[in-house]
């Protein structure tokens, strides 16, 4: 028996001799007698019982027994040990002679609780700590990943700050006022909403589903898609803690729910976006602003060049800005933009020309009002708004525009699918593809290995 340090003196005087106390007490430092069974309570209490326990502990079983196969004999010890015993004191503390427990009926070891206590006392400190760590780890894993609590963890500032992001999902777009929805439209809506809900639950964001059909007040003015502005404004008010608002059309699908917005875009905003529209300029906007009377910031191609000055992040498709999926940040600048975005004078002159309504209006503002540019950034389309083959298909497959399974693009926007393409079919295919790409390792094991081997052996395809 080794000691990590010398045993401390006991109140009764003398040394505790580890070798002489009962063997169950693992000695680490102060060797305190866990229980002594004696009557006299001397320093070296070797009683009959402790000696017997010791020999039992050494041998594992009584060395010799000729009797006691009956029930009573067999269980006598257990029964009697679990009975309360008259305790004649002489334990633990010698300083407290007037102990309450002395001379009373006390529970002895033998109850489950006491056994547990002994077990705990018997295990070493190191083992205890190890056990505690493992338990804590398991507990935390459950807490973080399996309970709804992880949603709140992710929202908090320290564990990701998901509270700062709100997804605005527009339902019933494009003629929601006038048209009845068929089963396909319902299915699209159900899938799209489910996809976003799953995503926000994973990362602790907020989801605002906007029913565009309720906004009838603009319908008579041919202003159907203009309420985007009002919607964003309402969300600014509804989520006062949020910083970034991600507008998504209904025909979008998040293919990779494992990407968080923080890691995918916002942690390195300067690198993930570009300020100078000349990098990709389908509208041929002359940039920077040609007028001499403007301030240097407005005339610089990249504004002030700091990521903190970005308030609007827009992807560009083959035809210019695409507002099917874009980010806008809370702030005075945004309030102003939302305020002037829709203006009756502009609308009156341009509503016949502006086929894409608010999207064209934003392009117009970007082209003509210099204050917009230093706070607008563009994001490569495939970062947040990949197109399926059917959209922007004039020039065949464009690696800047179209979804690539190999690169695991984040979001697909089935833009324009309502004009002559099959929205539901596309949505279904992308959903299945997303599920396939994001299989768990268990599913992969089953499908890629077990099913394959089975197929090789029996020639039958199976679905596990």
């Amino acid at each position: 028996m080794s000691l990590s340090r010398s045993p401390s003196p006991r109140p009764g005087g003398g040394w505790s001799s580890p070798g002489l106390t009962n063997p169950y007490a693992t000695v680490s430092g102060r060797s305190s007698p866990t229980k002594t069974y004696g009557v006299n309570g001397g320093p070296n209490t070797v009683t009959w019982e402790s000696a017997k326990a010791k020999s039992n502990g050494v041998n594992g079983y009584p060395s010799f027994s000729t009797q006691g196969k009956g029930f009573i004999k067999q269980h006598m010890r257990n029964l009697s040990a679990s009975l309360p015993r008259f305790n004649i004191g002489a334990e633990k503390s010698y300083a407290e002679k007037e102990k309450l427990g002395r001379g009373r009926w006390m529970l002895r070891e033998g109850t489950k609780l006491a056994k547990l206590r002994i077990l705990i006392l018997k295990t070493s400190r190191k083992a205890k700590i190890r056990f505690l760590i493992v338990t804590a780890f398991i507990f935390m894993t459950i807490l973080f990943y399996m309970t709804p609590l992880h949603y709140w963890w992710r929202r908090s500032k320290i564990f990701g700050g998901g509270k700062k992001f709100v997804i605005i999902l527009a339902a019933n777009q494009g003629g929601g006022v006038m048209e009845w929805k068929g089963p396909r439209e319902w299915a699209i809506e159900r899938d799209s909403v489910k996809n976003k809900k799953k995503y926000i639950n994973r990362w602790g964001y907020d989801l605002e589903i906007v029913d565009m059909s309720t906004k009838k007040r603009y319908a008579h003015e041919w202003r159907e898609s203009w309420e985007k502005v009002d919607t964003i404004r309402n969300c600014l008010r509804k989520y006062p803690d949020a910083e970034w608002f991600w507008w998504m059309d209904l025909n979008t699908f998040i293919m990779e729910p494992s990407y968080s917005l923080q890691s995918h875009v916002f942690n390195d905003l300067a690198k993930n976006t570009y300020r100078d529209i000349n990098e990709y300029n389908p509208l041929n906007i002359s940039h920077p602003f040609p007028s001499d009377h403007l301030d240097p910031e407005a005339r610089s191609p990249v504004g002030d060049g700091k990521a903190s000055s970005i308030n609007l992040i827009v992807p560009q498709d083959c035809g210019g800005f695409n507002l099917g999926s874009f980010f806008i940040k809370r702030g005075a600048w945004t309030d102003r933009l939302l305020d002037v975005w829709w203006d009756p004078v502009g609308y009156e002159q341009k509503h016949m020309e502006w086929e894409h309504k608010e999207q064209d209006a934003l392009e117009f503002l970007y082209i003509n009002q210099p204050w917009i540019r230093p706070h607008t950034a563009f994001i490569p389309q495939r970062k947040i708004n990949s197109f399926p083959e059917g959209a922007c298909s004039e020039n065949g497959n464009d690696t800047q525009i179209h979804y690539s399974e190999k690169d695991r693009d984040f979001v697909v926007n089935m833009a324009g699918c309502e004009w002559g393409r099959d929205c539901w079919g596309e949505m279904y295919n992308f959903r299945e593809l997303s599920n396939y790409l994001n299989r768990t390792w268990w599913e992969r094991f089953k499908e890629d290995l077990v099913a394959l081997i089975w197929f090789k052996i029996t020639g039958q395809k199976i679905k596990i």
């Binding site: 009377h293 301030d295 600048w333 309030d335 305020d339 009156e348 003509n368 204050w371």
Partner: protein, 311 residues
Amino acid sequence: MHLAMPARKSSNPPPYATRSTRFPMLRRSRVQAIVLCACAVGAVIFILSQIVGGSERIPSGTPPVVVVTVLDPDGYSKDYINNIKENRMEYAKKHGYATFFPTVTDYDLNGSPNSWARVPAIRHALTKFPHSTYMWYLDQNSLIMNPELTVEGHIMNPKRLEGLMIRDQSIVPPDSVIKTFGHLKGNQVDFVLTQDKDGLAQGSFIIRRGEWSKFFLDTWFDPLYRSYSFQKADTHALEHIVQWHPTILSKLGLIPQRIMNAYSKEDAAGDGIYKDGDLVIRFAGCDKGGRDCAAEAEPFSKQWKTAFRVQ
């Protein structure tokens, strides 16, 4: 050998107790001094960093106000234009302001009326004087009559402004439902304007520098407003954006006309007619209807010259 008791101290202590020599530097008074010194140094560093570190620091000698007048030499005598310029410059010199006199042709207006030039002109002034706080646009056909009044003290001082501001006033006089805000504080106002009988009068207005000013000027100058053929061009465009866009209305302070935009003729609203001692006289409408601006300004230009020369 182990002694049970420490040695007994002498009952008669020495008259001067020997000082402990372990930390002679750290006597109580010294510690206090050191702490105080550390605090002082920290404070100095903090103040210095505040002065040096702020990127928006205004360099000394920056004019606090820039007086902007867009000149339209077409149809006016050179003397008249020079008189106007001289008037602004003397006023500016007196108070350490700057002046800025672009001409109408400096800006590409895409064929819209010349009066639009004032909008890019102020934007230009903001660029040229990047640290000046206020841009005072004063129309060409007007004169500064009272050299004593400063822009900051007479108008833009928040306390003064709060007293001057007309609250709950219809933007377009008789019956516009859009009214100026009632609860605005003086330091929230970025745009100070007057009203005449017809509506907003932008012959004289003050803009405070800031992100908002850029937004406002760019919005005002939007090509769609210029092409809309508003009856009074930029004036009506201004009335339009003020009424339709709350982010602009919320920065607007309407003040009584005579504070900085008194009119020479009864064209003005109510008591907007110039009286001696007013900051500005404006010959509103003198360029139309067969009136002669130079002739109308003649008596007043003598007056301002004497007023300025007195000191």
